[in-house]
Symmetry: C2
Subunit: 333 residues, 2 copies
């Protein structure tokens, strides 16, 4: 970790009140989120500061519930399964908690994902957001949600968006210490909005998203135009959300996702997350649209496809995709 | 057609000697070609002037043999099948021949593609190159090959490359009349070079390449970086050909093809030529490379995949792709 970033990490940690002592337990829930305007590329890897802003929809009841309590030794239990202390999940989580806890405090973390495994959704965003919220509850820090978003970002960039429900914008920010790279909710209620999660392949990712972003930035000539794509798409999606203009939202979100994958595909070696079934699903979505169904696709750093539609087309979409896991982001939990 | 282009067409037509009279017949052959550095985007649609230069390998024995002779009425016979006078193929070909022939001259055209239908290779490049060569023979114009490439380009952009055998570079040119947008051969003999044609899908193209180019230029923000990609890739491929450096040639050619498809995928509506089998073939190519086989992929405006390799890996490549149609571009016809 370079000096400037270490100092910048201190700026974020200074948000936490000093001399707070832990209570007996802290418990919190945070939803997963799906970006409608994607986050792809970090301008600072340590602080996880993005090259561009992004905009997501939180997944309501699909997310992570986490309980944190003082303990004799660090321990992580994930979906009732105790994890090895030197395993990937525990190492990453406790390194993150080290940013916030007194050096002599050990913690037991009990984490439950309400995301069906079959959904193939990344759980790191909801996990790091839930961890910050649970730490806030454990210590009684009483942080603002915006401050929580800054801390969650240090665990996983997109975790900053999982601090909020509904539509959430992560502003790029300009400061080197990232204190203006924050998530804020759009405060738009849209009960008819649906996100369908289509698991098209269980094939393992060829490359993680951090490495995928890095390789894209380093080797794709087309990536140079990505910030310009986002400069077009992000305000368009924000306006479409405020206007509840679903066709515009869907169209721009699909274009943005395809453009992100285009930058990956043009990296070297190619960052090809698509599987044959990904293309098949995209073609089915295009055929449905051709038949007048307002359904759009988005994809993240993996082969699965997420469908965007509203309640009026839910039956038609389910007919074509019977295995779809459909989320109602605005249902009360 | 706009006025400036009409004048520019005249400049190209002025290459043809006046007052020549047709002989009894003209006959010629031209190969198909596969671009290693792609042509995607026209800066002038009438003159088919490209946004960037490109570089191809001619397909040796796969191409078009054409015989043209004066007749009572215009008639096109394609692979022994008489074509309807107002069909797409005949209309396009005779409109092209109108550029060169005296107004009162009717022609019978007998065209044979030696490209297996299953190969799914575009035949327009070889057809228009063969047409120019056959007209040259019919009238005894005795045009230079470079002048033939200018005339062939007016039929189909990539046809200018099919005037030559082996590796061919199509220079972008700067002039508004396109007289410097010409193809020239690289004069490199590389008998070990192989091109494998893999027909992964017989599905019809969702959109023709002229419309695909137009839509990409009009709607893809990433396309703005395409000329820069070519500015990197074209000299790299040219040097790799001269150095007979196959791994570099393959790597840059695959990256260039993927970058071209990336610009298509990020257009709206998406220009998605890929089929599920396209992704499967790409993944197989990547797995072969992982196993040490020097094989690379390139793709044009369609779902099929062309493989680049050399004779030493031919057996290994054929084992994975038993239906491959393999071309030896440097075999004497």
């Amino acid at each position: 970790m370079t000096e400037p970033s270490s100092r910048s990490l201190e700026t974020a940690r200074a948000l936490i009140p000093r001399a707070a002592t832990p209570g007996t337990r802290g418990e919190a829930y945070a939803p997963a989120n799906i970006a409608l305007c994607k986050y792809w590329g970090k301008r600072d890897e340590d602080l996880k500061l993005p090259v561009t802003g992004s905009l997501s929809i939180s997944m309501g009841p699909l997310g992570t519930r986490m309980r944190i309590e003082p303990a004799e030794t660090d321990a992580l239990v994930l979906n009732n399964a105790p994890q090895s202390a030197d395993g990937k999940a525990a190492t990453r989580l406790f390194a993150f908690l080290d940013l916030f806890r007194p050096p002599d405090l050990r913690l037991k973390v009990d984490s439950h994902n309400t995301i069906p495994m079959a959904a193939g959704l990344a759980s790191s965003a909801s996990a790091f957001a839930a961890a910050v919220k649970a730490m806030d509850a454990l210590f009684g820090w009483n942080l603002s949600n915006v401050d929580k978003s800054i801390l969650a970002r240090l665990g996983s960039g997109s975790a900053c968006r999982s601090v909020f429900d509904g539509f959430v914008e992560w502003r790029r920010g300009e400061e080197a210490d990232g204190m203006d790279s924050i998530a804020t909710p759009l405060h738009v209620d849209w009960p008819e909005f649906r996100v369908g999660i289509l698991t098209v392949s269980e094939a393992e990712k060829p490359v993680g998203s951090t490495e995928g972003m890095r390789r894209t930035m380093d080797t794709s000539a087309l990536y140079q135009s990505w910030p310009e794509q986002v400069a077009i798409d992000l305000p368009a999606i924000r306006a479409a959300v405020h206007n509840r203009d679903f066709p515009t939202l869907g169209r721009v979100a699909e274009r943005n996702a395809l453009a992100m994958h285009a930058t990956m595909i043009s990296a070297w070696p190619p960052v090809l997350y698509w599987q044959p079934e990904t293309v098949q699903a995209l073609r089915r979505v295009h055929a449905l649209r051709h038949a007048g169904i307002e359904v759009y696709a988005t994809m993240d750093a993996g082969p699965n496809v997420k469908l965007l539609f509203t309640d009026s087309d839910e039956a038609a979409v389910n007919k074509t995709f019977p295995d779809l896991v459909t989320v109602r982001p605005f249902d009360k939990i």
